[in-house]
């Protein structure tokens, strides 16, 4: 989650709250992986209570592809954040020169 600290340097929220939000996000990430991978790997006709070998392998690969996706999307968001910050700084400088 490091791409976040870049833009918002403030006196910093209370550490226990920050840890709580981080845990909430990991729980949300975990729930989303379980939900997406269940839909993609095991959501056909529920004929019996167990998951097949094929569904287990699919699940392992789904978790790893999901986390790779999270990593790549994080890089895109960080670049977009930096581009936006730069744009704001250029605009601020321009206004000073014209001000």
């Amino acid at each position: 989650m490091s791409w976040l600290s870049g833009g918002q340097q403030q006196q910093g929220p209370d550490p226990v709250q920050a840890a709580k939000v981080e845990m909430e996000m990991y729980t949300d990430l975990f729930n989303k992986i379980a939900s997406s991978c269940f839909t993609k790997c095991a959501a056909r006709r529920h004929r019996d209570p167990d998951i097949t070998l094929g569904e287990m392998t699919c699940t392992d690969r789904c978790v790893s592809k999901y986390l790779e996706t999270q990593q790549r999307v994080g890089v895109i968001l960080q670049k977009a954040n930096e581009a936006q910050l730069e744009q704001q700084q250029n605009m601020a400088q321009m206004q000073q020169r014209l001000g």
């Binding site: 840890a19 729980t27 529920h46 167990d50 392992d60 790893s64």
Partner: protein, 89 residues
């Protein structure tokens, strides 16, 4: 998990208290979401007021497969977190 690792000992105690409350809430949310997912997936006709044989076995199988699946995702997820943490040291 940077914010959690940075906690001082006395803060960890407060954090654990919050975790207990969060875990209760999270498992209730998981329960509500699982009921909705299995209901939407298994129940499509409303000629009667109660589940027929195939609908009840469908929702029960859906729930037990989801639990097994979540346990497996938990193992893989923990392995990835460990690998990532090792990668960063």
């Amino acid at each position: 998990m940077e914010a959690i690792q940075k906690l001082a000992p006395h803060q960890q105690q407060a954090f654990m208290k919050e975790m207990e409350a969060m875990q209760t809430k999270d498992s209730l949310n998981m329960y509500n979401n699982l009921v909705m997912r299995c209901f939407d997936g298994c129940v499509t006709s409303f000629r009667s007021k109660s589940l027929d044989k195939s609908e009840s076995s469908c929702v029960e199988h859906c729930a037990s497969r989801y639990v097994k699946m979540t346990q497996r995702v938990g193992l893989r997820f923990a392995e990835h977190q460990a690998m990532q943490a090792a990668g960063q040291q």
